[in-house]
Amino acid sequence: MSTGTTATVEQNQVSSAGVSLWSDAYRRFKKNKLGVVCFFIICGYVAIALLTWLGLLGADFSVNGPDSYAAPSSSHWFGTDIFGRDVFARGLHGTRIALSIGLATSFIAIPIGVTLGAIAGYFGGLVDDFIVWFYNVVESIPDILKIIALGYAMGRGISTVYISIGLTTWVSLCKLIRTEFMKHKRRDYVQSAMAIGASHKRRMFLHILPNVFHIILVNLSVRFITAIKMEVVLSYLGLGVEPGQPSWGIMIDDAKLEMARGVWWGLTCASIFMFFLILAFTLFNDALREALDPKLRNK
């Protein structure tokens, strides 16, 4: 609104000079040093997750040792837990679980949100009314109660965490996609596609979807933050991953009994791992949003 007509003209010139949205976004993202650093931090976490998954890193995470609750030392950087297992190795494995929760919930929530949002926004009318009613209903039940209800229905375990968080967090994306599709379906390029005989499906997913893809990308990165935080609360409620698993939520939850005995390392280790991953995602997300938001283009 504040950008006057001159800014609009400039903006048009930029896009007509043959710079696509994505290469322009890439160019602007690169300029944001903090965002780039965060991107590499996330890559580091992904590497840790892959290496622990392959058993190349922290392979001794479930090996019981002789010393219960040994203080941090050079052999155990973050000490040991009640069974004498290395806390740092468990923290490393927690990365794998945290990222898998972010990824799996995205695989569930994004297709639901995008498909329903696209159908509602594109077709409008009665279909739209129904989908809006449906997401209003789903949204009305507070997230934590939905997750508890689903967790109750499915029992404890990591797949429950995936499904319950996945099935409860698609609404915000669905709303965004719906509004975008409503805007885009009237644009010239979609009209032209119709004129040359493109089917509804083709227009929705081949023509409009690539133009709203940036919304999905930003949503993906926010989703990891929510999912990782949610896992901790679920562990506290006893609806998270199985107690034996090395998740950060379980480690933090265990600390509620350990702290009074002076055992601070389990909590510290899990919190540090979690802190930097969420921080990286938060700042990366800001950078991504700035790079992809057309409104901020010439600032």
């Binding site: 609104m1 504040s2 009613w133 449906f134 209003n136 209903v137 789903v138 949204e139 009305s140 039940i141 507070p142 934590i144 109660l145 939905k146 508890i148 209800a149 689903l150 967790g151 109750y152 229905a153 499915m154 935080k229 901790v232 609360v233 506290y236 409620l237 006893g238 609806l239 939520g249 933090i252 939850d253 600390a255 509620k256 702290m259 009074a260 909590l267 919190s271 979690m274 802190f275 930097f276 969420i278 921080l279 938060t282 700042l283």
Partner: protein, 311 residues
């Protein structure tokens, strides 16, 4: 305006109806047989049959749904499986402690966040702004549970400033138990709120009317407090109202951890005991509150912002 309110109220009916269907499907269809949850592994065939009949689970699903619908409409949710208390009584007993914790904490957070965010915007791009931002972002990267555990450990256990946990229903004596959970509540939410309000206010700072106000020679203080704040109220109110339903359930972790007998603590107990009817009732009540808060938010925003049209 009145027609708009009436229309919105009417729209609540299909939404709440949908909520009852969804909770019913979750608990009675997907959730498997609650009899095994209640009886454990050792029920005999005959016992299971009797219990199924008592709970009405041997009736066809549509009939069960109508029964549930009747419960929702009359606000009579039967009895808890764990304690055999009347659920409606449990709910009314839990509201007091929950509200005593959440309402003061909620308002302290809002007032502090608005003040801090204005301060940040006033010193924007300076060192103060950068430091506060770093602080707020860092604060949002730590789990609620970590705040709770560390808060209890240091403030209550180590330094003995507050009781470790518990609650007293006396009007004067409850605050010593609620003080620490309140502090933790504020600490957990303030970082996020400040960042949100900051960006809402910053969005207004570059508008033309602000430039005009400055050109008229108004001081920065007047510009921010009188002109900018009023206009950035719309997103702020929306975000505040969205948290109102969480006032009832959002303190779940805090209440459970500090042994406050509110609704959040009740949910925690119900989950721990697989107390099926209590979770079901709370899901319904939580949703109704959410829908009402949502409506209130839209109405408030339309009162504050004359640009909103009633369509």
């Amino acid at each position: 305006m009145l027609a708009y309110v009436a229309r919105r109220l009417l729209y609540l009916i299909p939404v709440i109806f949908g909520v009852t269907i969804l909770t019913f499907v979750l608990f009675n269809v997907v959730g498997g047989d609650p009899v095994y949850q209640k009886m454990g592994k050792h029920g005999s065939e005959a016992e299971i049959k009797i219990l199924r009949h008592e709970l009405g689970l041997d009736r066809p699903l549509p009939e069960q749904y109508l029964f549930y619908l009747k419960q929702c409409v009359t606000f009579n949710f039967g009895r808890s499986w764990a304690t055999n208390q009347n659920i409606t009584d449990m709910l009314t007993a839990g509201i007091g402690p929950s509200m005593s914790l959440s309402i003061p904490a909620f308002f302290i957070t809002i007032v502090l966040s608005i003040l801090l965010s204005i301060l940040i915007v006033f010193f924007r791009n300076g060192l103060m702004d950068k430091l506060l931002q770093v602080f707020c972002i860092a604060g949002t990267c730590i789990s609620v549970l970590v705040y709770v555990i560390l808060g209890q450990y240091f403030f209550a256990y180590k330094w003995g400033m507050f009781p470790i946990s518990g609650y007293d229903s006396g009007w004067d004596s409850r605050w010593q138990f609620l003080a620490l959970p309140m502090i933790i509540w504020v600490a957990v939410s303030i970082g996020y709120e400040v960042l949100l309000y900051r960006s809402a206010i910053l969005e207004e700072v570059f508008q033309d009317y602000v430039r005009t106000a400055r050109a008229k020679g108004l001081t920065e203080k007047v510009v921010l407090l009188k002109h900018v704040l009023k206009n950035s109220l719309t997103p702020i109110i929306t975000s505040i109202m969205m948290e109102v339903p969480l006032l009832i359930t959002g303190a779940l972790v805090l209440e459970a951890f500090f042994g406050i007998p509110g609704l959040g603590g009740m949910i925690y107990q119900a989950v721990a005991n697989s107390d099926f009817p209590v979770i079901k009732a709370m899901t319904f009540i939580g949703s109704v509150l959410f829908v009402l808060a949502n409506l209130a938010s839209d109405l408030l925003v339309s009162l504050v912002d004359p640009r909103v049209e009633f369509n």
